[in-house]
């Protein structure tokens, strides 16, 4: 039996909706539909279904004004991204993370600034991981 989809798990289609809401703020379903990338070519009904599902998953909320509904994201973009990345790594890199990370880095089109930021992140990671070891020797 497949695992039940937890409310926090966001499907790729729902991510497209979330990105629009994060970028534009509160929007009606029709506006979300208009703001989506053209190549997706989704019907309004599909967008409304995805919005309803995201409300059910508590990633977004809505306000009813008359007969219309305005949706806005409640899930923090960074937190949701972090969660999604963790989910991906759990699925993709069960034992060794470095090959998967290396693959991501190789595939990504990174600017110098982004490479510097990554390097700084790795340095911080090294410092954080070595600190408890020193403490353990005391």
């Amino acid at each position: 039996m497949p695992d039940k989809q937890s409310p926090q798990t966001i499907s790729p289609a729902e991510w497209e909706i979330m990105k629009v809401l994060w970028e534009h703020g509160e929007m009606a379903a029709r506006d979300v539909c208009a703001a989506l990338p053209k190549h997706l070519n989704w019907a309004t009904k599909t967008v409304k279904t995805l919005l309803s599902r995201l409300v059910a998953k508590e990633a977004i909320t809505y306000d009813q004004i008359g007969n219309s509904y305005l949706y806005r994201a409640v899930a923090d973009e960074a937190a949701l991204t972090r969660q999604e990345v963790q989910s991906i790594f759990r699925r993709v890199a069960r034992r060794a993370l470095s090959p998967a990370l290396a693959h991501f880095i190789e595939e990504a089109d990174l600017s110098d600034a982004e490479i510097d930021e990554l390097r700084a992140t790795l340095d911080r990671k090294r410092e954080n991981s070595s600190a408890p070891q020193r403490g353990g020797r005391r």
């Binding site: 497949p2 039940k4 989809q5 409310p7 379903a29 409304k48 279904t49 309803s52 409300v55 998953k57």
Partner: protein, 615 residues
Amino acid sequence: MSITESVVDAWWGWIIAVTWQVALLTCLALLFAVLFRKAPPRVRHSVWLLVVLKVLIPTSFSTPWSAGNWLAPFRSDLTVSFVSSPNEVTAKTTLRHAAPHEAIPSDKQSHAENVSLFTSSGLFGLWSIGMAISITTSLIQYRRLCRATSRMPLLDEGPVRIAVERAALKLNVASPPDIRLSNVNASPFLVGTLEPSVVVSKSLVDQASADELETVLMHELLHWKHRDTWIGWLQILVQSLLWFHPFMWLANSRLRYERELVCDEAVLREGGVKPDEYGKTLLRVLTVSRARPVLAGTHVGIFERGARIQNRLETVMQFKDERRTSLTGYALAVATFAILFLPMSASVNEDSVAAADVESSTLALAPPRKDKAGKAKTSGDTTKKEAKPKTPYPQILKTQPKAGATGVDPSIKEIRVTFDRDMGQGMSWTGGGPEFPPVDKSQEVRWIDKRTCILPVKLRKAAYYRVGINSKSHQNFKDPSGKATPPSAIFFTTKGASRALQNKVKIPQITKITPANGSKDVSLTTKQLVVSFNVPMGGGMSWTGGGDSFPAIPDGKRPSWSKDGRTCTLPVKLDQDREYQLGLNSLSHNNFQSRWGVPLKPVVYSFRTASIPSK
């Protein structure tokens, strides 16, 4: 036989078989439901679903343990108990009173068959009308409902849609159906097969809390998840086929009831709803919808017609989460039920009709009997009773049609053979090729009592048929002690057969025998016995007998046939003043046959030679 007659025949066989099989299976399912009343409703639902599916399974589906095997003695009664008109009662009485030893007079039998044909055609018409009305009504209802549903507002966003999505997440339903809002007060229901919609009433949306709404929608989603609308169509189909059958109505009703219990249980188990909350929700839906349930079987709702709400509420309140309880035992019970009871037809012996390509080469009829005068008498009189068995092996007492009959009504449905004693339940109908009558596979080859066996057939007009009873290699027509009846055959032509075909079933008759049968003072100069027949013969011969009463054959001499195949000569060397007795054919040797394989009925041939050689 016309196409219509063939259709009616096939239908008649099917309807009789499916009627008793469904009735019996429903009784067994009721028993199962009682025994497993504490089991999860899924278990009972599966069994009722099997009853519905049974209608679509070929009625000839059989196993060695099929119910048809142990019901065989009662089957003739079951067959005729379906008829009800005054004319049919005649047929019923005739058949019922056909005790093992009784002969059914041919005129009565013919009348019964005609009545049966009339009855089956009439009933076929009635059944067709009933089925057409049932299906048409369901389709019209469904179409109206679909039209009405398509005009209802689509709730593609807002609280109701979100409630559906929440319910879908809990139940792991990937693509929940559309939601439509109805202004009519009725309990929510699911309609549609491929792209279904859940219809909820405006009053329910207005009055129910968000949790109650979600619970109700969860119930409908479970109907979708379980594909209950598809099962609903299946029920409509079988109900239309057996619209007259009270057991089918009962089985469908039980299936609908168990289906609701299955969804109730899943709402509690998978949806995590508390029993008391769910009970309140059911009552809320009932009061808001003003107790208007779903009216047709093409859609499924939270309440259906005749729903037993108290039983449901009791079941809901007694719910125990059995997620960890193994269902293997229950699954085995259902599988056992299916294996044991779905095949119901009586099994057919391998050597019987199904294996009709076995060619019998040996034919025989009952042995000769002597009248009071001691004269040989043929056994062709098949309608007369025989008081007690006289031979160590079973004899054929009578057959229908009679062997050698011409102008047989092609509408007769079966070939019967009755033996002179109780028989075992095996059978070997032998023969093959175009001469073997087409078997009606919708009916069963069966014993209607311990002495009479029936072969259901579909005869054509103007045809010649030959059915073997046992053969050299297949001898399952035998008594309980294992003594087989000697190989024999029933051969006949149906109405409209040409003279040439009719000649094929002519039983050979002796036109002249020299010396004459029973003659005295036969001259010792007689060097041969000569027998002539009324039809061309096949070239074989069976001069039977032995010992001193059988005439000696001179060395180097052999019996022979005339060129026209009608006269056979046996060279002999006779002694003076001696009683000779021999036979032409016997039970086990019957090679005196017509060119078309019809054997001469055994004849005892005797004469006495003179005491003084003639000069």
